[in-house]
């Protein structure tokens, strides 16, 4: 479904991604784990078109995405829950969700999806009219996920969705991720919380300073000694 081939990304002189390649297949949950500054967020931003690779190719459902403007890529069915949430703090919760469905025209369907999202995140329904900037961290994370779901994506990119969330919510969020996945959305998940990520993922890749150093089935990686030491804190 999504294929990344030898992608290089630079921030000025900084070579942030040094030729990474990986794939995400239809229906999978794939996770990218790695320490701070490894380039996880950079990978996601490159896929969603916010960054331009200097070299390499990105293909989605056979179509070349490289060079396509970010707003078009959303239309192709990829949506992103960015690191740090990036909700529209000056708009209300409802308006944020509306923005998620910006490219959609199927009004009744949108309405249904909104209900579905309120069912997943009841807190959002409670805070419908609140200006999003005053939500607590966790509420904002829920909003960011809800907003991304509103575009009805085929592939959802999640950047550290568990950051700053309470243990219960972390669990819930991962349950939701599994749910969303079960309902047919493919997921590419970036996480610091490798333990959780590996427990829900089908496959996983390890990213270290801009390079993919390991890749395989999530369970295998979770069992590997190196990974346990470096990322699972065991």
């Amino acid at each position: 479904m999504l294929a990344i081939e030898d992608v290089h990304v630079y921030y000025g002189a900084i070579h942030a991604l040094q030729g990474i390649s990986f794939q995400v297949n239809q229906g999978e949950i794939v996770t990218l784990i790695g320490s701070n500054g490894a380039g996880k967020s950079t990978s996601l931003k490159t896929i969603s078109g916010l960054l331009r690779p200097k070299q390499g190719k990105i293909r989605f459902n056979g179509e070349e995405l490289t060079g396509m403007p970010a707003q078009k890529i959303v239309g192709r069915g990829i949506s992103q829950v960015p690191e740090g949430r990036r909700i529209f703090a000056n708009m209300t919760v409802s308006e944020n969700l509306d923005m998620g469905a910006y490219l959609r025209k199927d009004k009744p369907e949108i309405k249904k999806d909104l209900e579905r999202i309120f069912a997943i995140f009841p807190r959002l329904r409670e805070r419908k009219g609140q200006v999003a900037g005053t939500l607590s961290g966790g509420e904002q994370q829920m909003l960011a996920m809800g907003r991304a779901l509103m575009s009805k994506p085929q592939l959802m990119l999640l950047d550290e969705p568990s950051m700053g969330l309470s243990p219960l919510l972390v669990k819930q969020i991962f349950d939701i991720i599994k749910d969303i996945n079960a309902q047919g959305t493919t997921i590419l998940l970036v996480e610091q919380n490798a333990r959780m990520a590996l427990s829900v993922a089908t496959r996983a890749y390890v990213l270290e300073t801009g390079k993919i150093t390991l890749g395989g089935m999530a369970q295998e990686l979770a069992a590997s000694e190196d990974v346990r030491k470096a990322y699972l804190g065991a």
Binding site: G137, Q141, M163, S166, L168, L169, Q172, A230, Y231, G233
Partner: protein, 254 residues
């Protein structure tokens, strides 16, 4: 008691973010404040540090009411904090970040600075060496000249704590210090927190969602939900408290 919060409340419009809160913390204690997202934890910090004014209630620190003070005055009284979303002076060097926090202890006036009187040089030298010593403690000495925003995330978190320490507080408030850290870094942070408390006779109140850290270092924990305390006690008690499990930890306790 170093800190006593009595019937502390804060509402935003109709929303009661903090409701009739009572907390007591003794000198030298290391206390955790946990609770679901939106429970009002950060709001408690904001009240304590003068960012928000309480709607009701009292905050007694070291025997004196700190309600209604401006943030800098609270800092002068001996309360320092870090922020949930890092707020370093991003474009300044690491050492300048720390020196700024020494400001209240500088011993010369703007006038002496302009005239470059001897007191200026004396005090500047002193601040420089104190800042370097502090950076040493936080393993940041080698980074002293770097621009703060270029540091890796984990080091930025540490610098924020170092900077807060430079105000020479009696009470340190840490808001999710481990957020965005990997397990290894978190372990390092745990040691650092313990070490700080022991070496500076510091009292620490920390907010954190990473249970390994909270359970690992805190002696006592308050659990907040909807602005109210739903439980308090030792990590052991909290871990097994059914209310806490239901509201916060989730079924399979860690």
């Amino acid at each position: 008691m170093l800190l006593k919060l009595e019937h502390l409340s804060k509402s935003f419009g109709g929303l009661k973010a903090v409701a009739d809160l009572n907390i007591e913390i003794g000198q030298g204690e290391l206390v955790g404040l946990i609770g679901p997202n939106g429970a009002g934890k950060t709001t408690v910090f904001n009240l304590l540090t003068g960012v928000y004014e309480p709607s009701e209630g009292k905050m007694i620190f070291a025997g004196k009411d700190v309600g209604g003070l401006r943030p800098y005055q609270v800092t002068h009284r001996g309360i320092a904090r870090t922020f949930q979303n890092i707020r370093l002076f991003g474009d300044l060097s690491v050492i300048d970040n720390v020196k700024i926090a020494f400001h209240q202890h500088a011993k010369y006036s703007a006038f002496s600075a302009i005239l470059r009187l001897p007191s200026f040089f004396r005090s500047e030298d002193e601040m420089e060496s104190k800042a370097l010593a502090l950076l040493e403690v936080f393993h940041l000495r080698g980074r002293a000249g770097e621009v703060a925003k270029n540091l890796p995330y984990g080091e930025q978190r540490r610098l924020e704590i170092a900077r807060a320490m430079a105000t020479e507080p009696r009470l340190l408030l840490l808001d999710e210090p481990a957020a965005g850290m990997n397990p290894q870094e978190t372990r390092g942070l745990m040691e650092l927190i313990r070490w700080l408390r022991d070496n500076f006779q510091l009292t620490i109140l920390l907010i954190e969602h990473d249970m390994s850290l909270v359970m690992g270092v805190c002696e006592r924990i308050y659990v907040l939900d909807y602005g109210m305390i739903i439980a308090s006690g030792t990590p052991e008690e909290i871990r097994t408290d059914p209310k806490v499990i239901e509201a916060y930890l989730g079924e399979e306790a860690i």
